[in-house]
């Protein structure tokens, strides 16, 4: 597979969570990006870490953007599964800010570890103290910087906390290899590392199947 050399989309600064993810990825590996958006992460990985692979995306506006950025993109609905891909055909299957928006997140985690050696996900942490305050004090569903939509029009239909996610991983025999939490601006600090489920706004995980 040939990697292209010019990616206009990488000329803008990379989202810090994508920066963290690219540090987790071994150069030269094969990556599948689920819900790849406009292809920013893949284009960046192509440029900086010489990875190859594909992005999957449902939004047609993003398809043209990916193509323009030189990213191989397949227009598809993640809820239809990853049946087009063979077992263990990627080193990493990445899914940023998408897990909470699919119909079958548990099934998709299985699929990620079927086609990939390792999985990487990021999602908004519903256990963040502001979310808790919304429910506890106002008795309302949280609307925050990372979750800006109202309950009735949000695409985020499967929200979870760090603990929820880790409980699911334990149940599924998934080993967590790396975890980072960041705030809305994608910065981290010492307090956050002490109380991640309370202070982290966005969670990043790298994981694999327990053999």
């Amino acid at each position: 597979m040939t990697a292209l050399t010019t990616h206009p989309s990488t000329q803008v600064a990379l989202r810090p969570d994508l920066d963290i993810i690219s540090e987790w990825i071994t150069p030269g590996s094969r990556v599948l990006d689920l819900g790849c958006g406009d292809g920013t992460l893949l284009a960046h990985l192509w440029d900086t870490r010489q990875v190859s692979g594909y992005g999957l995306e449902i939004d047609s506006v993003n398809i043209a953007k990916c193509i323009r950025a030189g990213v191989n993109v397949i227009q598809t609905d993640l809820d239809a599964g990853l049946s087009d891909f063979d077992e263990a055909s990627f080193d990493y299957v990445v899914m940023t800010q998408t897990l909470q928006a699919v119909y079958y997140p548990a099934r998709l985690l299985d699929e990620m570890l079927r086609v990939g050696r390792e999985g990487i996900v990021t999602f908004p942490n519903f256990g963040h103290w502001r979310c808790r305050m919304h429910v506890a004090l106002r008795g309302r569903m949280p609307v925050s910087r990372t979750l800006p939509e109202e309950w009735y029009n949000t695409p985020n239909i499967h929200l979870c906390t760090l603990r929820d996610f880790e409980a699911l991983c334990a149940k599924k025999g998934i080993r967590i290899l790396q975890r980072t939490v960041v705030d809305y601006a994608h910065h981290s600090n010492f307090a956050m590392s002490l109380l991640p489920n309370l202070l982290g706004e966005i969670a990043l995980y790298r994981f694999q199947r327990i053999k």
Partner: protein
Amino acid sequence: MIELTELLSADSVGLVIPQTLHFDDALPLDCGRTLASYDLVYETYGELNAAGSNAVLICHALSGDHHAAGYHNAEDRKPGWWDSCIGPGKPFDTRHFFVVSVNNLGGCKGSTGPTTINPTTGQPYGPDFPIVTVKDWVRSQVRLADRLGVAQWAAVIGGSLGGMQVLQWSIDYPARIRHALVIAAAPKLSAQNIAFNEVARQAIMSDPDFHEGHYYAHDMIPRRGLMLARMLGHITYLSDDLMRAKFGRELREGKLNFGFDVEFQVESYLRYQGRAFVERFDANTYLLMTKALDYFDPASDYNHDLSAALQRVTASFLVVAFTGDWRFAPARSREIVRALLDGDKDVSYAEIEANEGHDAFLMPIPRYMEVLDAYMRRVAAEVGL
């Protein structure tokens, strides 16, 4: 008559003159026969650069021909069949690319086909013209590329049966094609597709004016048969949604006449399309084209494994399908994508939301144009345009 302003508009290729190349080197065909000599008629838009790196080939579908863009003369009422995509500033931008569009062998628009005089008999080939395949066409297009000085196409592009030629190019001549744009196509026909083709053929062959294909000698045209074939084809090119939107159950005279004449608008439309087609197309060519479709199955040379067929492919692919296309539905394009993914090939796939049916690939649907444009910019950048 077209307005002069349209003819001269900035995004039109304007007046074009078809060209013909004669080939004397015999062309072996899949059916076992050989064409001793033949003509290919083609059009070009834009200029071939010195490096010969900016050429793209357009492959036509069942009833298409070499006239893909621009006008032949000021009396033309319509431009070429893919004018929406070819021209200055359009996705196949003639300011950058040298666009070549060829009429396939077996056609009826100038390339050697059933209406051509067979040099050995002095009579038109008629039904004796050999049944040509997609592979044969590609073989003939390679020779055209040689004569034009194109060692490698920057891209080979086609919709429907044209997309099948693109796929065949990428398999048979991997070194001669950088990019493959396969639009509204399928890796092979389904039983239902073949069934529609068979009804079309039967309509033509059972017309008493068909004379076993020798209708030229009787100075006749199997009008009714060819018209029926086209009417049937048209139903499969449109979607149920589009027909509902376009015609609904609208009556021509606003009331039922309790007869078998045209009553519903959709009947009127189909008859018009059928009649117009008879004036511009040859029945023997129609039979040949449907056979080429039926026979197309590149995986059959590789133990019916499409991934194996595509293993040696080096081109990068753009595969495009349309949601309202039930003739070659998106699932059929996904078969091609899947096989390419199996081989870790460079491929992008766009599924365009469109209710225009199979014909959507000919329409200037904004999302579709955007995808083609984005991809062709990538091609241009890669070959240094």
